[in-house]
Symmetry: C2
Subunit: 411 residues, 2 copies
């Protein structure tokens, strides 16, 4: 089972607060493993392999590598690059094999979400088909938490914590006057409502949003306005949280309504803006109230200063487990998290087939949405609370973040 | 000089992350002072006085009062209520005097920004004119940092820290791909650029924004687009930070270019927001690039989880100093911060005339703006770095904020 050679690690897809924690896990484990002769990092994921832009991680300062645990967004750079079907065009694959041979790469670790697991799967299958011995392991990463087969994804816990904390803080701000206000908050998650649902946790700080809309159920603008109006008239204010991906019964994204009926302004420009901006405009028209749309935008995926300690630790562990699995002979798998049975939260590692994981989305369970379609149940709280537990140590220097500074020495 | 009686404390204007730290300072000091017979908190600032909605702070749990130091947004509720000129209509003033007599109020502490100091000043002058002995002290609060006469305002340091940290994190996210992107970030500050300038601090984390535009200089949309284009073509991406209050040479807010129907609040202020969205649309048209507008919205003033320890400590101190000054015989003043001479940062307390403070704005110094009009100088860094120093302990419970829970017992 022993296989000696170099490893390549790549980061792909949208950043998270903890993606570099998985990089740290891979690097720490790979650098000390005698089977791994050299540890390489790919610039911008698979594009770094194709372009022969590889960094020698062994030349990095170990103290800087430690700082990866609190440095958000892919330290090696990321990509959104879709590999073609090799039966149609195998150019990229031949290039990948060429580079792997050049550096004697026998271990390939790829960190990302659905699309990245597709890349990982295709590379794995191609290398198998060519009889080139290389162990390929995917490492999950996505704030969206929509990867199939794993209890949850590294990245989700920290984004969920950011959303919960920020919703609680915004609630305090948005309800401070005795004059009414409506606040419409938009969270990421185009097809899955995991992030939006996390806003409900603000209720445990005494700051529960009034209405929560996930993309798993059809969204009706008029019903939404009616619910907001009712809440506003009863309480004097209303805080609604919606997914960026809410869509009507015909599958049209509400965000698309904005560009559809947005009257171009005097200059003929179309207004930009998402679901919250559009709904805020509609609510303002209907209620005449003060309405503020708020988008969590990039902050929800890069606010490492608010990361979940549990999430960071699990992200490190997934990276390390990927290396251990590969060295022990496993290939063509993604490492994943299984929740241990019993009342106390514990995460176990499992290995899933890449083919099964790639391109399968895990939606928010419909039974965790309240019957009125505008909230989530206690079962979701039980699921999510362990994932946001604990605060990750952040490295501050003079009141500002001190991020990892990699030398990125060309391999 | 000794004066015995009750005190009333009120919070007014827009919330900050540390406004309750000043409340804590007032309460701690007033509750232990033998001259102050009863400590009352006004619901929604001066409106709580007018409506006889006063809480008995002595009935609160001391442990909950401690938590005020990490609880954002006015715990007693806030207001934006403009008192009339008493020469024209003294109805409100007569009511205030009636309530003060009812509770034997001899101390009045009012925490807020420019408009709140105007309220404080008017109440003070009216009580003087009526020969009613009451010591009135203003306590500064504003994220905008635009209060005249004080080196800086409690609330600013924490908002500046949030903006610096978040700009650094966003920079890492927004530059992660090797495909280009333009990010346009909007910070608060209607007329003063202090908050927007704080984005420059991200440079000390290796994440300097490329362009920074304050409202102190006229803003030209075409020049802005040209600068963004140049930066984008040279670097492959561009991060610009603009104040919500940027306006053209004729004084027209850029946000108004997008929307002409801005409602005005009680003080005649226009509802702001939307500059970044408008500019993003224009840049997208001009460059065809991926452009993302980001508004820091309410988060910049309520993100107590990212508060500056220095700011919190100074906010507590301002509250406590207000009480000590009043008890020692001072009235008709605002407590303020003077920076001690010498190389090491130290804050000294000073007392300013309310008349001088009320309604005078302190702009960002033009000499701290770089000659190209799109950045700030080292002198600003020297000024601001001590204000964001240190991290305030945040009270976490099960991964979520544990805010102060006041009983609010009616007086």
């Amino acid at each position: 089972m022993s296989l000696k050679g170099a490893c390549i690690f790549g980061q792909s897809g949208g950043p998270t607060s903890v993606i570099n924690a998985s990089a740290y896990g891979v690097f720490r484990e790979a650098l000390k493993d005698p089977n791994i002769t050299r540890v390489l990092g790919a610039a911008h994921g698979i594009k770094g392999v194709l372009n022969d832009q590889l960094f020698d991680i062994g030349k990095e300062d170990p103290a800087e590598l430690e700082l990866l645990k609190s440095t958000p967004s892919s330290a090696l750079g990321s990509c959104r690059y879709k590999l073609k079907n090799p039966a149609v065009d195998d150019t990229d694959y031949r290039r990948i094999l060429e580079i792997f041979k050049k550096y004697d790469v026998r271990y390939f670790f790829y960190n990302g979400g659905n699309d990245s697991m597709d890349t990982c799967n295709k590379v794995s299958k191609y290398l198998l088909s060519q009889g080139y011995e290389c162990r390929v392991i995917g490492i999950p990463k996505t704030i969206d938490n929509d990867l199939w087969g794993t209890d949850h994804c590294p990245g989700y816990g920290s984004a969920a914590k950011y959303i919960a904390v920020t919703c609680a803080e915004i609630y305090r701000d948005a309800t401070v006057y005795d004059t009414g206000a409506v606040t419409i908050i938009e969270a990421m998650g185009r097809n899955a409502g995991w992030l939006t649902a996390a806003s409900a946790l603000a209720g445990l700080s005494g700051c529960a949003p009034d209405l929560i809309y996930l993309p798993e159920l059809p969204f009706d603008v008029d019903s939404f306005i009616a619910r907001v109006k009712q809440c506003y008239e009863e309480k004097g204010n209303c805080i609604a949280v919606i997914s960026e991906g809410v869509k009507d019964k015909d599958g049209v994204f509400i965000a698309e309504y904005a560009s559809k009926d947005a009257a171009a302004d005097a200059f003929g420009h179309k207004q930009m803006g998402g679901s919250a901006a559009y709904l805020a405009m509609r609510v303002k028209e209907a209620l005449g109230a003060k309405v503020r749309p708020i988008e969590f935008s990039l902050m929800q995926r890069c606010a490492a200063h608010c990361a979940s300690r549990t999430d960071v630790e699990e992200a490190v562990r997934m990276g390390a487990e990927a290396v251990r699995a590969a060295v022990s002979g496993v290939t063509d798998k993604m490492v994943a998290i299984r929740r241990a049975e019993g009342g106390t939260y514990a995460a176990e590692t499992q290995l899933l087939e890449l083919t099964a994981v790639a391109n399968t989305e895990k939606k928010f369970p419909l039974e965790w949405i309240t019957p009125d379609g505008a909230g989530v149940t206690e079962a979701f709280f039980d699921y999510v609370l362990p994932l946001i537990a604990g605060e990750n140590p952040y490295c501050w220097q003079n009141g500002l973040p001190r991020f990892a500074q990699l030398k990125k020495v060309k391999a």
